[in-house]
């Protein structure tokens, strides 16, 4: 990975979420993100990290790493886990056209991640899931 990335590795659990968000805020400040963009960033990170916490290592446990670099007012973000293979970009989008009775329960978090970030990508490397993206999306800036 490029130098200039800051990294934080913690157990993949809901209890780590707050520490990850605070770590990411340092990056958001360095990139000069507006408050509205920071909330969007929190949302994207929550969706991805909660997903890793819930599914990556079940029934066991493991760590997840959040890394970011600041580049021209944007954040490059990477989330790495060593859990089971999961490509969030391949997951089918939930069908949200239904009515209350027949809505799909899952998939909303991944849907939000895909729609709120710029250039999302996934690769599997040395038994790791590596999800990368840029933030914010230029067309959603400050919305």
């Amino acid at each position: 990975m490029d130098p200039g990335f800051r990294r934080l590795s913690l157990p993949a659990s809901l209890n780590s979420l707050q520490a990850f968000l605070e770590f990411a805020h340092t990056g958001a400040d360095a990139a000069g993100l507006a408050a509205a963009d920071r909330d969007q960033l929190d949302l994207v990170l929550e969706e991805l990290l909660v997903n890793v916490a819930r599914y990556a290592y079940q029934p066991g446990a493991g760590d997840v790493e959040l890394a970011y670099a600041v580049e021209a007012g944007k954040l490059l973000v990477q989330i790495v886990d060593k859990g089971r293979i999961f490509n969030p970009l391949e997951k089918e989008e939930p069908d949200l056209r239904g009515n209350l009775e027949n809505l799909p329960v899952g998939g909303l978090g991944i849907f939000l991640f895909r729609h709120l970030v710029d250039s999302p990508s996934y690769r599997r490397e040395q038994d790791c899931n590596i999800v990368s993206f840029r933030f914010p999306r230029p067309d959603l800036l400050g919305t």
């Binding site: 809901l14 979420l17 509205a36 909330d39 969007q40 929190d42 949302l43 929550e46 969706e47 909660v50 949200l96 056209r97 009515n99 209350l100 009775e101 809505l103 329960v105 909303l108 978090g109 849907f111 939000l112 729609h115 709120l116 919305t143």
Partner: protein
């Protein structure tokens, strides 16, 4: 996240303030469940103080709305703004709820 319930004539008003995330979303669901258990059929969520909602929060809104609908009730949303409005619109879930600018408007429609 803070939830302030107020009993009205035909509904219970739940003022939700702060951030509804993976950790706090169940609290909203439980607050709604309590009102439903006490006989409420119409809930009005006042969301002008809601700063943040993630997919777990969306799921809680849906679960409560489904439950109320099956009992001929409703969950109305008022004062949606900022990121929560963006998230409800982006997922198109906004179309599944009665949405109002103000609680007065929501009460008048009951």
């Amino acid at each position: 996240m803070q939830i302030e319930p107020t009993q009205l004539d035909k509904a219970v008003l739940l003022k939700v303030i702060g951030r509804m995330d993976a950790e706090s979303a169940p609290e909203f669901e439980q607050a709604c469940e309590r009102s439903i258990a006490q006989g409420a059929r119409h809930l009005i969520a006042e969301l002008s103080g809601l700063q943040y909602v993630s997919s777990m929060g969306l799921r809680s809104f849906l679960t409560v709305a489904q439950k109320l609908k099956s009992q001929n009730g409703s969950l109305s949303l008022c004062g949606l703004q900022g990121l929560p409005r963006q998230v409800f619109e982006m997922t198109k879930l906004i179309g599944l709820f009665p949405v109002y600018q103000s609680t007065d408007e929501a009460i008048a429609k009951l």
